[in-house]
C-alpha cells in the first residue's frame, strides 16, 4: 500500500473530510452560518470543552478515563467566587488558588489510580460525585456575581480580533500536540496505552507519567473554570456538569481509541470543531436541541464505523 492511501484512510483524514462536508452542508442551509463573526463566536463557546479535551486525549491514550473533569470545573468556579467575594482575596490571588485547587484535585485522581490501583473509571466516578458534592456544599446554592471588568476580557474580550480565550486554547493545543507527538513523555503515554507491562519492563516511568497526566487534567479543568466564569460572569455550583461527556465524545470522535494506545490531539481538535458546527448549524436551521444531540450521536457512530471498516483493509 502506498503511503498516500495509508494517510488517506487514517481516521483523522476521514474526519477532516466529514468536517468539510458538514461545513458546506450547514453553509448552504443558512447564510448566517458561514460568517466570521458566527465562527469566532462558536470558537469562543467551545473553548472550555476544547481545553479539557487536550489532557483528556492523553488520559484516554493511556487507556484511562477522567470523568471528574466537570466536577473539578464546578468546584474551581465556586472556589474562585468564594476566595474572591467571601474571603475578600484579590481576584488574581483567588484565580491562583483556584488553579491550585484544581491541580490538587487532579493529583488526587492520579494518586488513587496509580498508588491504590483503582481502575480510572471507578476512581474518577467517585471523585465526580465527591468534587461536585464539595462544590455544592461550599456554594450553599448561592451564586457569585459582579466580577470586575478587566476579568471579563478573558471570556468576552478579543485580542487582535480573535476571542481572548482562543489564544489560550491555541497555546494549550499546540503544547498538547507537541508533547504527545515529539517527546519521550508522549512516547511513554502511547506505550502505556498499548502495553503497560512492557512499558514497565522497559524502564519507562509508568506511574509518574500517569500521575502527571491526571494532574494536568485537573489543572486544565480549573483553567477552563476560570474561562467559563469570565465568559458568563457568574458562578454556580452546577457549572460544567455533564461537560465530561462532551469532552469524551470529542476525543473519541477524533479517533482516539477508548482502549488506549492510539489517538492524536489533531484528531481531537477536528472532532471538537465538527461537534460545535453541527450544534450551531443545526440550531441555526431551526433544529431543536434534542434533535442536535441525536445527530451528534449518529455522527459519532458513523465516524467510528467508517474508521473500523477502513482499518480492516489497512491492517495487512
Amino acid at each position: 500500500m502506498t503511503s498516500m492511501t495509508r494517510i488517506l484512510i487514517r481516521h483523522e483524514a476521514i474526519l477532516g473530510i466529514l468536517f468539510v462536508v458538514v461545513l458546506f452542508a450547514m453553509a448552504s442551509q443558512n447564510d448566517r452560518f458561514l460568517t466570521t463573526a458566527n465562527l469566532l463566536n462558536q470558537a469562543r463557546l467551545m473553548t472550555e470543552v476544547g481545553l479539557i479535551a487536550i489532557p483528556m486525549t492523553f488520559v484516554i491514550v493511556t487507556g484511562g478515563i477522567d470523568l471528574s473533569v466537570g466536577s473539578i470545573l464546578g468546584l474551581c468556579a465556586i472556589l474562585l467566587g468564594v476566595f474572591w467575594q467571601n474571603l475578600g482575596l484579590p481576584l488574581p490571588a483567588a484565580i491562583g488558588l483556584s488553579l491550585a485547587a484544581g491541580t490538587a484535585a487532579g493529583f488526587a485522581n492520579g494518586l488513587i489510580v496509580t498508588r491504590f490501583r483503582v481502575p480510572p473509571l471507578i476512581a474518577t466516578l467517585a471523585t465526580l460525585a465527591l468534587y461536585r458534592g464539595l462544590a455544592e456544599g461550599i456554594s450553599q446554592a448561592r451564586s457569585v456575581r459582579g466580577y470586575p471588568d478587566w476579568f471579563a476580557v478573558l471570556g468576552r474580550g478579543d485580542f487582535l480580533g480573535i476571542p481572548t480565550q482562543l489564544w489560550l486554547f491555541a497555546l494549550v493545543a499546540v503544547l498538547g500536540i507537541f508533547i504527545l507527538r515529539f517527546t519521550t513523555f508522549g512516547r511513554t503515554t502511547y506505550a502505556i496505552g498499548n502495553n503497560e507491562a512492557a512499558a514497565e519492563f522497559s524502564g519507562l516511568p509508568v506511574e509518574r507519567t500517569k500521575l502527571v497526566i491526571y494532574t494536568a487534567s485537573g489543572f486544565i479543568s480549573a483553567l477552563a473554570a476560570i474561562v467559563f466564569v469570565s465568559r458568563v460572569s457568574t458562578t454556580r455550583s452546577d457549572m460544567g456538569s455533564g461537560i465530561e461527556l462532551e469532552v469524551i465524545t470529542a476525543v473519541v470522535l477524533g479517533g482516539t481509541s477508548i482502549f488506549g494506545g492510539r489517538g492524536m490531539v489533531i484528531g481531537t481538535l477536528i472532532g471538537l470543531c465538527l461537534m460545535q458546527i453541527l450544534q450551531n448549524g443545526l440550531s441555526l436551521s431551526g433544529v431543536r436541541g434534542d434533535g442536535t444531540t441525536v445527530v451528534i450521536g449518529a455522527v459519532l457512530i458513523v465516524a467510528v464505523l467508517i474508521s473500523n471498516l477502513l482499518s480492516r483493509f489497512s491492517s495487512d
Partner: protein, 506 residues
C-alpha cells in the same frame, strides 16, 4: 484394526509460511500415540487441524475410515475429538461440576439445568479419573493446577471423548501429579480411548506411549513403535543433527566477576540465592516451571525488588529497586513472554527498539527520530530482522523476528549483564540457531549472560555452568563437563515425592 483417526498428506500454510507439508498421522483405538518435535515444528497446528480449529489446505482427515471435513471445533467435539490444552481453558469463578458440563448441561423436562444430575454425573466422571477427594461444588479458582487438569479431562470425558489430545499436559505439574496423570491415561487407554500425547519429556514418552511420531519443520520424520527408538535416536529425529552440531558453543576465557548475588531472597518466592556470573560466561538456569527461575530473573532486574540479600555489580553493591536502576547498573532482561513484557506489538519496530533507551535519544526531552531511525536500521541489518521497514508494526513480524527486536532493544542499552528468559521459545529452528550464535558472539565480546531455559538440550548445549533451581531455592551448580541430562535432571527433581520411581522410568 482401522485407525480411529487418520490424517493423510496434510499441508497448511499461514500466509507465506508453510507450517505443515504432507504430514501423515494415524491413531488407533486404545493407544497412546506420542507426538514430538521442537517448538515451531508444527505440533500445535497439527492438533488444531485434527480438532477442527484450522482447516488443512491439502490432504484429508478420516474418522473411522471415512473422509470428514470439520467446519469448526464443535463438529469435531461432537465426534468425540477433544483437546486438553496446555493453558487450561476453565472458568475460575464457576464450580467443578459447572465447568465439566459447561455448554452441555443436563436439563430437566422444563428446560432448566438439572443440578442434581449434573453434580452426580460430574462425581461419576471424577471417580472414573480416580480423584474421589475432588469436591464437585468447589470453585475452580481454588484448585491446584493438577486438579484443574483433572477437571478439564473430566470435561472431555463428559463429551464422550473417543480421541483425547493432550498438549504438554505435564509441563506445569510436580512429579507426584505427573505419576497420577499417567495412571489416569493408562486407565483411559484400557477403556479404549485413543490418546495423542504431546510432550518434551522423554521419560514420560517411554513410560506411556505405544508409538511415537516426530515432526520437524512441518514434515513428519517418521512414526515408530516405542520399542524401536531410544532417547538419542528421538533427539536426532527431532533436530536432524546431534546436539553438538546444534549448539555451536565457543570456548571463551572466563573474565572478571560481573554480577554477584549474596543470599538474595524475594519473600515467599525465591529463597537465599547466591552465585556469581563472569564476563564472557553463559550461565544456564534449569528448573521445572514454577521453580522460581523467572522470579529470580525479575528480582535481579528490579521488577520485583529483592526483600533481602545483596546484589553486587562489578564488585560494588547496588541497590536495585526498579527496572530503571537495573538498566542504569548495566543489566538487561529479555523476558519470557515477548507479547506481554517484551514488546509493544501495536507500535512500530523503530519505537520498540528505542524504548529502553529513550532517555538517551533525546534533546530537551524531544525524541531524536533521526538517531532512532538509524538505531532501528542498524538493528534490522545486524540481526537480519525480516521486516518491511523500521515503521512496520512489530505485531506483524514472525516470532523469531519479534525476538530479535527484543534482543536489539536490550542490546541497545549497551548492557554488561544480559538475562535471557526462554530466549528461543516458540521460534523456528533457523532463528533459534541465529540466536544461539549471537549469544556466543556476545559472550566473546565480554558480556555476562544468564540464560533461563526449559529445554534441557539448550541449557546443556549453551552453558558454561548450569545453575539448577528447585522450589525457589538453588539446588545445584553444575560445571559444563559434569552437566549431563541425568545430573541436571536429578537436581531439578530431587526431594520430590517418589523420586525413585521417576528414575526407574528410564
Amino acid at each position: 484394526m482401522t485407525p480411529i483417526l487418520e490424517l493423510k498428506n496434510i499441508s497448511k500454510a499461514f500466509g507465506p509460511v508453510k507450517v505443515l507439508t504432507g504430514v501423515d498421522f494415524d491413531l488407533r483405538p486404545g493407544e497412546v500415540h506420542a507426538l514430538m518435535g521442537e517448538n515451531g515444528a508444527g505440533k500445535s497446528t497439527m492438533i488444531r487441524i485434527a480438532a477442527g480449529d484450522h482447516r488443512a489446505e491439502e490432504g484429508e482427515i478420516r474418522l473411522d475410515g471415512e473422509v470428514r471435513r470439520f467446519a469448526g471445533p464443535r463438529e469435531a467435539q461432537a465426534e468425540g475429538i477433544i483437546v486438553v490444552h496446555q493453558e487450561l481453558l476453565l472458568f475460575p469463578a464457576l464450580s467443578v461440576a459447572e465447568n465439566v458440563f459447561l455448554g452441555h448441561q443436563p436439563k430437566t423436562a422444563a428446560g432448566l439445568v438439572d443440578w442434581g444430575r449434573m453434580r452426580r454425573e460430574a462425581r461419576d466422571l471424577l471417580d472414573r479419573l480416580d480423584c474421589p477427594n475432588l469436591d464437585v461444588d468447589q470453585k475452580v479458582s481454588r484448585l491446584s493446577v493438577a486438579d484443574r487438569q483433572r477437571v478439564e479431562i473430566a470435561r472431555a470425558l463428559s463429551r464422550n471423548a473417543r480421541v483425547l489430545i493432550m498438549d504438554e499436559p505435564t509441563a506445569a505439574l510436580a512429579e507426584a501429579d505427573v505419576r497420577r496423570l499417567l495412571e489416569v491415561i493408562r486407565r483411559l487407554r484400557s477403556e479404549g480411548v485413543a490418546i495423542v500425547y504431546v510432550s518434551h519429556r522423554m521419560n514420560e514418552i517411554f513410560e506411556i506411549a505405544d508409538r511415537v511420531t516426530v515432526l520437524r519443520d512441518g514434515v513428519s520424520v517418521g512414526t515408530r513403535p516405542i520399542g524401536e527408538v531410544t532417547e538419542a535416536s528421538l533427539v536426532s529425529m527431532m533436530v536432524g543433527r546431534d546436539i553438538h552440531q546444534l549448539f555451536p558453543k565457543e570456548d571463551v576465557p572466563r573474565g572478571e566477576t560481573r554480577l554477584e548475588l549474596r543470599g538474595v531472597s524475594l519473600a515467599g518466592v525465591v529463597e537465599d540465592i547466591s552465585f556469581d556470573l563472569h564476563a564472557g560466561e553463559i550461565l544456564g538456569i534449569a528448573g521445572l516451571v514454577g521453580s522460581g527461575r523467572t522470579e529470580l530473573a525479575q528480582t535481579i532486574f528490579g521488577v520485583t525488588p529483592a526483600t533481602s540479600g545483596e546484589i553486587l555489580v562489578d564488585g560494588k553493591p547496588r541497590k536495585i529497586g526498579s527496572v530503571r536502576e537495573a538498566i542504569d547498573a548495566g543489566i538487561a532482561y529479555v523476558p519470557e513472554d515477548r507479547g506481554l513484557h517484551g514488546l509493544v506489538r501495536a507500535q512500530p519496530l523503530r519505537e520498540n527498539v528505542s524504548m529502553a533507551i529513550l532517555d538517551r535519544l533525546t534533546r530537551y526531552s524531544v525524541v531524536d527520530t533521526g538517531r532512532e531511525q538509524n538505531l532501528a536500521s542498524d538493528a534490522i541489518e545486524r540481526f537480519s530482522i525480516r521486516a518491511r521497514d523500521a515503521r512496520q508494526r512489530v505485531g506483524q513480524l514472525s516470532g523469531g523476528n519479534q525476538q530479535k527486536v527484543v534482543l536489539a532493544k536490550w542490546l541497545a542499552t549497551d548492557p554488561k549483564i544480559l538475562i535471557l528468559d526462554e530466549p528461543t521459545r516458540g521460534i523456528d529452528i533457523g532463528a533459534k540457531t541465529e540466536i544461539h550464535r549471537l549469544m556466543g558472539e556476545l559472550a566473546k565480546k565480554g558480556l555476562a549472560i544468564l540464560m533461563i531455559s526449559s529445554e534441557l538440550p539448550e541449557v546443556l548445549g549453551m552453558s558454561d555452568r548450569v545453575l539448577v533451581m528447585r522450589e525457589g531455592r538453588l539446588s545445584a551448580i553444575v560445571d559444563r563437563k559434569d552437566a549431563t541430562p541425568d545430573a541436571v535432571g536429578a537436581a531439578m527433581m530431587q526431594g520430590r515425592r517418589e523420586p525413585a520411581r521417576a528414575g526407574a522410568a528410564r
